[in-house]
Subunit: 516 residues, 2 copies
Amino acid sequence: MNGAESLVHTLVNEGVSVCFTNPGTSEIHFVSALDRIPGMRCVLGLFEGVVTGAADGYYRIAGKPACTLLHLGPGLGNGLANLHNAKKANSGIVNIVGDHATYHIKYDAPLTADIEGVARPMSHWVRKARTSMSVSADAAEAIGVAREPPGKIATLILPADTAWGGAEQVVCAPAFARRPPVSAHAVTVAAKALSGGGPSACLLLGDVGVRGRALELAGRIAAKTGCVISSEFNSSRLERGAGRVQLMRVPYVVEHATTTFEKTTQLVLAGAKSPVAFFAYPNKPSQLAPSSCHVTQLAAIEQDIEAALEAVASELGALNTPPAGVAELSRPALPGGPITLEGVGALLGTLLPENAIVVDESISSGRGFGSSTAGAPPHDWLSVMGGSIGFGLPCATGAAVAAPDRKVILLEGDGSAMYTVQALWTMVRDQLDVTILVFANRRYQILLGELADVGLGEPGKNAYDVLTIGRPDLDWVSIAKGQGMEAGRATTLEELAKEFKRGIASSGPYLIEVVT
Amino acid sequence: MNGAESLVHTLVNEGVSVCFTNPGTSEIHFVSALDRIPGMRCVLGLFEGVVTGAADGYYRIAGKPACTLLHLGPGLGNGLANLHNAKKANSGIVNIVGDHATYHIKYDAPLTADIEGVARPMSHWVRKARTSMSVSADAAEAIGVAREPPGKIATLILPADTAWGGAEQVVCAPAFARRPPVSAHAVTVAAKALSGGGPSACLLLGDVGVRGRALELAGRIAAKTGCVISSEFNSSRLERGAGRVQLMRVPYVVEHATTTFEKTTQLVLAGAKSPVAFFAYPNKPSQLAPSSCHVTQLAAIEQDIEAALEAVASELGALNTPPAGVAELSRPALPGGPITLEGVGALLGTLLPENAIVVDESISSGRGFGSSTAGAPPHDWLSVMGGSIGFGLPCATGAAVAAPDRKVILLEGDGSAMYTVQALWTMVRDQLDVTILVFANRRYQILLGELADVGLGEPGKNAYDVLTIGRPDLDWVSIAKGQGMEAGRATTLEELAKEFKRGIASSGPYLIEVVT
């Protein structure tokens, strides 16, 4: 057994059964070990941003880490933006990054780089394996870290000689850690803050707080107290749709958010952070709740959020109160005519299949889709948590790998889609069940808005050139075809309905260019 | 004047006249300043790997730095792999990376990251601007660093409030620094090492040593002493073709390289490093010259390599010796029949236009193209210096921006091309004069070779799956069309000749899928 084999055994034994990868020469012994040891599904990405983003999407749905296999510092660098997104989403990932043999580093061959330095900003844990004998123990520790609540990024650097050198043991990882409970005091303080104030109190939910029993408990607390219940602007996986408790969503635009919170006197955080502006702007606040608002942390993100909500509901006598704000099944009428964002939202509300996984990187186009889909059959909604674009296609890839029996719907901006467009190929190769809507507005619309918002007026030539992506227009049907994916174009809502139904009917990937 | 305006004035005043960019909200004041201050050409990339790779290619041809404008830690992360390549190529670049306003950082908004940490592994100099008043001075220092021989990566992080806050002055950068001379002792030792040994001595040239008068001087020294003159395996910009001194090239394959050097007793380095294996392999050496070989450094890469060679030639009495190894104009016959790599090489030798810039990321396909193009009209040959794939398309983009009057020929592997495929769009938008040959062998051929080389035998299912990129085949004509680029496919050498001539005749970009 060599180090690479001990590593693969360790991963497979611990249930790390998917490897998203783009390998190179320094990883060749790991690749070869995957041939000899059963139990690992290998998913190739043609660019490392696909690899790391897929691992993020996989964790959000599977609830356990995948591993990535990356090629030295530059390969890790290519994956960094989506590792940033994954880190902010608290998705657990075990990165394996190949390196030169330990004795080769000093010769400064072309691919030599400070891999630990590249890894550190986007990892919770970084280690370079010292010898082939200890690789399994290193991997076991990495797996343990990745599984720590609420999910962490562990990066193990694997010098080539620690892969090809001999190994003797396969080490077990620590079991999945339980989330630590919140204190009784935190429960009492939160219950008090939420009771009596009606809608001037807000319970803000994050992480697993927007799912399952935690979500239901939030609904019961709201019914009992009249408090507002809200998700953050983005959630890693929000359960919503008919039969589920419907949450407010913190707005993106600073003025909208501050208006939303202007009468809030008590803010209780359960797995969420006190809301802040996505960006700073001259003469606008960073914090979205008024300074007079009293902020209480019921549960930090790594704590047992569900148990904390249960305790609060119990203290409030709300455990049997029927939840407030449960969405009823309500499909809008199928819209027609020219494509408008309102029309697209209504169409999604009408046609979204039950139990779909919606991956949302529609940026400016998708802001209104939430209300029109609120009454659709139950579904999950996955948003980018780190703000780095190029998240959608890879996340949808990983989500589809994790849930082959569910339909994935990807809502994608054209600007964002280009960042990690290579994911189309992986979806085709692995025949992933993803229907992709690319909103082709031919511009970075959000930036044109920001330019106006900060009082810089109409764009001049240079600004217009770098904030729009027309000239030439991207032809998404050809881009998809180039990677072997079937695709269609919709210029009316009728065409979009037809294309969307075609995507839903397919068991493989399908792309729709939505000309907006 | 705000900080962003002072920054743009500083850049433009110093001749930094091209900004490769993909901006975001935190860079919006810089973008707006570009509207009001003339003198900066903005080139938009739809992914940051395009942006940084283009800045590398630009420097290699223009001989001066461009700036990049990138969006926080993730935007920089996306550009990191090609910054790695640029750093190893010693290309000077001024990176401007937007950040949150200084007071906003503590709120840990989604895009908050340790940008300095991300920058450091691939930068020679990193600074975060402290106030809007000092931004110009910071930029001037960055420009000075980027221009230090042989070219460096300077990364200036620009918090949004240092862009929108007031500024009063525009600071001048230090002038282009002269390369320091080598010592007289180094010249004497090198001259002695090269003389008398005939072909057992080797003069290994790097950086500017493979161009212009330095190259000619190397030819004179070889003629006088009988020494071997060689470039490294890769050169940032190698001048070659008819009328120029032809160099040996250090082979990639370890066994070939050690055989090449087995009789070398004296190795003299002029801007080059002692040759090392690209990767380490079990039971193969890291150093390619035998341990008995005596290695002398004539000139470090930052020193005045040309003057050093002049001094050596003078000491050897070779200043007027006609250079050895001057290539004669010699075009192979235009080949026909099925596509073979030998045939493609001959075709390039026949059809390569005079004064072309060849960007070579053909990896395994292109190893034999050197000999068949040695007698083509004079041209420059640009290779990837950091070993990170995804270099070719962006480098060709930047080279074409730097030299609008020259034809750029890009030799590109299909696997590598996918990494930064978004560059096609930039080439179309800016109507860059680039003819692209994508060698579509549908696999990471080099890795299949490495697998066999390290004794791991034939690939099994997992290895085969992650080392090949067929299933589905990439359709490069559609990929190009999707980004608005004209393209054709060649399945015979006759078709390739026709397509190549079409590309050469065009004044804009043209892509050819070469089915190998």
